[in-house]
């Protein structure tokens, strides 16, 4: 693709992000006229409309943007590193690790959910999510020192994820209905539960991790022809592995902890970026993933808001409903994608 066309495409995506941002803020179950929204943004937040715009919609839309940035970037790192079109943030068992920790928190033995939730529940769940994904992350780091082959490491990650899911299943089996419901609700994913005070924590984690990911672009390009080739170019493959797993863990852990496990975006968006820009160059793919991810999350969020109805659909069901057909399409076209790895 000609570089001028690429620039045009980037500009187009950027404009789409801005338009969708505005539209998403304007959409919700309560109808608010556009001028009122502008007024509310600059208000002191006293009326119901102001509170909806400032406390509910803006944090929700910003959360959608952060999720849209982080999961596709994490997915791109994993797909390149593992040379596998279906690798994604959840493949390494990081999402499962967060799920297990949240499951222990909500349904754990001896914890009376009625007594502790939702008091401090959201904070507790966030901490458990981050701790859970970090523990799995450390296991993966330790194992990655022993296993040099990336495919073996991928299989290990999948197996670890399955084993952890089995523990989650065990907890679900022994838990009471109320606790089970809380866990199931969490597992559906939600963007509307994130408040400003939580965004102050989530945003820096995501932005720093994405910036770190950008800094690995050159190394990822070197990895494309294979680890042996990268080594011959003088790349320290051991260090880059730790870096990539670390970034993925941070991005996935933070997003999963705050919003629940959000499916498919991480796997699907890097493919969209490759298809649009027809390149394997990570200097282009990284910003492309960020923009495409933001656009897709904003779109999914708008659908989940079901304008005109009183309810909000769980974000995970929306991303899965849109994402699943796409992943199937990728699998059908697998031969074509193989050339990227």
């Amino acid at each position: 693709m000609h570089s001028r066309n690429r620039i045009a495409l980037f500009v187009f995506l950027l404009i789409a992000v801005v338009i969708l941002f505005v539209v998403d803020v304007a959409i919700g179950s309560v109808y608010i006229p556009f001028l009122q929204i502008i007024k509310s943004i600059f208000s002191n937040g006293e009326s119901a409309m102001d509170i909806i715009v400032l406390q509910s919609r803006l944090p929700r839309v910003i959360t959608a943007i952060l999720v849209g940035m982080s999961l596709p970037v994490a997915g791109l790192l994993m797909q390149t590193y593992f040379k596998n079109p279906i690798a994604g943030p959840d493949i390494l068992g990081i999402t499962s690790g967060a799920s297990l920790a949240v499951a222990i928190f909500t349904m754990g033995a001896g914890i009376s959910v009625a007594g502790i939730l939702p008091i401090g529940g959201s904070v507790g769940m966030i901490i458990s999510g981050i701790v859970g994904s970090m523990i799995v992350l450390f296991i993966m780091l330790a194992v990655s020192k022993k296993i040099s082959d990336s495919v073996t490491l991928l299989v290990f990650g999948i197996m670890l994820g399955m084993a952890i899911s089995a523990f989650v299943g065990l907890l679900q089996y022994f838990s009471e209905k109320e606790a089970l419901k809380i866990f199931v609700l969490w597992s559906f994913g939600s963007l509307s539960g994130v408040t400003w005070s939580q965004l102050y924590l989530l945003a820096p984690i995501v932005i720093i991790s994405v910036a770190l990911a950008f800094s690995t672009a050159k190394k990822l390009n070197m990895l494309l022809p294979g680890e042996t080739y990268a080594k011959s170019l003088g790349l320290n493959t051991g260090r880059i592995r730790i870096l990539l797993i670390g970034i993925t863990g941070l991005l996935t852990g933070a997003v999963t902890a705050f919003c629940g496990p959000i499916a498919f975006i991480g796997i699907a968006i890097p493919h969209v970026a490759r298809m649009l820009f027809k390149t394997t160059n990570h200097f282009i793919l990284m910003p492309a993933c960020v923009l495409c991810g933001i656009i897709s999350m904003l779109l999914c969020d708008m659908i989940s808001q079901t304008p005109g109805y009183n309810l909000v659909l769980p974000i995970n069901t929306v991303t899965a409903l849109l994402g699943a057909p796409f992943v199937i399409f990728i699998l059908m076209q697998n031969n074509k994608f193989q050339r990227y790895f």
């Binding site: 919700g28 509170i51 939702p118 009471e176 408040t195």
Partner: protein, 380 residues
């Protein structure tokens, strides 16, 4: 061929059902009357010569018969009954319960000494029952979904009081029957009115042959409830009320025809979703609640919150609500044991008059000035 087979099966079923029904009724004769029930729709008690027939049906679809019990006092000959009717020799002496609400009913009838096992003993609030648990006279049956069947069998209860599970994964009902344990389906939670739920005291009482006592206990509850209700709904000021606490941005509110909404209507409240026709809870967008309830006067049942700060910690946006600012937030967790077991769900079921009195006292502080709240507490 398949069609013929289906037709044959359907015909066989049609013909096999009717005679069974006849044998059922042929065994017990001289139908006298239905016991008077005023509010509960989920069961019927029919009196026959020498025995009683208790029919459990779905309170919201009374054509669905869920179980039929024949209760025969000791010393009376057992009639020959075919079909699915379950025969009990009454009064029962040893009983197991799978819900603390059942314990509440048994407490009210002074029957806690017949309890040999409870599922979720740590959630029990009643001091006497807790003593019996501590003494080992009441055993723990394990948690819902994974009952300790061997323990239950070893206790040899005359029956297990259980309730209907819509989720087959939790349906211990079938498993109890399979191991030869008789179950009593106590579906009081499906009733949509507070008095309808409390009237299940008559259902449990029939198995212990204390129906007269249950009738008189219920009459007191009913009179008290109706008197309080009449006073509350006659008041001109009907304050606006909303309930619940969001979880991850999802707010669940009771429908306008739900149990919770009926309590609020009877307490003289202007419940903000009273015009919704649903009988159960439904999820609603966070911003919809802000738009509707921001200036509401009272906020009830705010999750498990014990203080106003608990609400702020759960979601900082909740501090924008007028009710939070004015401190008009009340929760039904005044009587909670060390494990989170709440007496509201235990004895509150059979004390709807006390629950209503609490609600009226909260919403209309000018009434019942000298009384203190029983189940509710104001969050500070």
């Amino acid at each position: 061929m398949i069609r013929i087979f289906v037709l044959a099966v359907v015909t066989a079923l049609l013909f096999s059902c009717n005679p069974k029904e006849k044998t059922n009724d042929a065994g017990i004769e001289h139908y006298n009357k239905d016991s008077a029930l005023h509010y509960a729709k989920g069961f019927l008690i029919q009196e026959y010569a020498g025995c009683k027939k208790v029919i459990v049906r779905h309170p919201q679809d009374t054509t669905k018969i869920l179980a039929t019990y024949i209760l025969i006092p000791e010393g009376v000959d057992t009639p020959k009954i075919a079909g699915t009717d379950i025969i009990f020799r009454i009064p029962l002496k040893k009983i197991a319960c799978v819900s603390t609400t059942h314990v509440g009913i048994l407490e009210k009838l002074n029957l806690v000494n017949s309890i040999v096992g409870i599922s979720g003993t740590k959630y029990i609030y009643d001091a006497h029952v807790k003593e019996l648990i501590a003494d080992g006279r009441i055993a723990e049956l394990g948690i819902e979904g994974s009952f300790d069947f061997e323990k239950i069998i070893s206790l040899q209860p005359d029956a297990i009081i259980t309730y209907q599970y819509d989720d087959p994964a939790y349906d211990a009902f079938g498993k109890f029957n399979a191991v030869g344990l008789k179950t009593i389906l106590n579906n009081e939670y499906l009733e949509l009115t507070p008095l309808g739920q409390a009237e299940w005291i008559k259902f449990i009482a029939s198995f212990f042959d204390v129906s007269e006592m249950a009738d008189s206990v219920f009459n007191v509850i009913e009179n008290s409830y109706q008197t309080i209700k009449e006073q509350a709904i006659a008041l001109e000021n009907q304050p606006t009320v909303f309930t619940g606490l969001p979880f991850k941005g999802e707010w669940t509110v009771p429908g306008g025809n739900s149990f919770a909404a009926i309590y609020l209507a009877d307490a003289g409240a202007n419940y903000l979703w009273k015009d919704d026709s649903r009988t159960g809870n439904f999820p609603i967008a966070f911003e919809q609640v802000i738009a509707t309830a921001l200036s509401a006067e009272y906020w009830l049942h705010a999750g498990a919150s014990k203080t106003l700060n608990d609400i702020a910690k759960a979601d900082s946006r909740l501090t924008s609500f007028d009710a939070w600012k004015t401190g008009n937030v009340f929760n039904n967790n005044k009587r909670v044991n060390e494990n989170g077991g709440n007496d509201y769900w235990e004895s509150g079921i059979v004390n709807p008059n006390l629950v209503l009195k609490d609600l009226v006292k909260i919403l209309h502080p000018e009434l019942f000035t000298s009384d203190t709240l029983t189940y509710y507490t104001q969050l500070k």
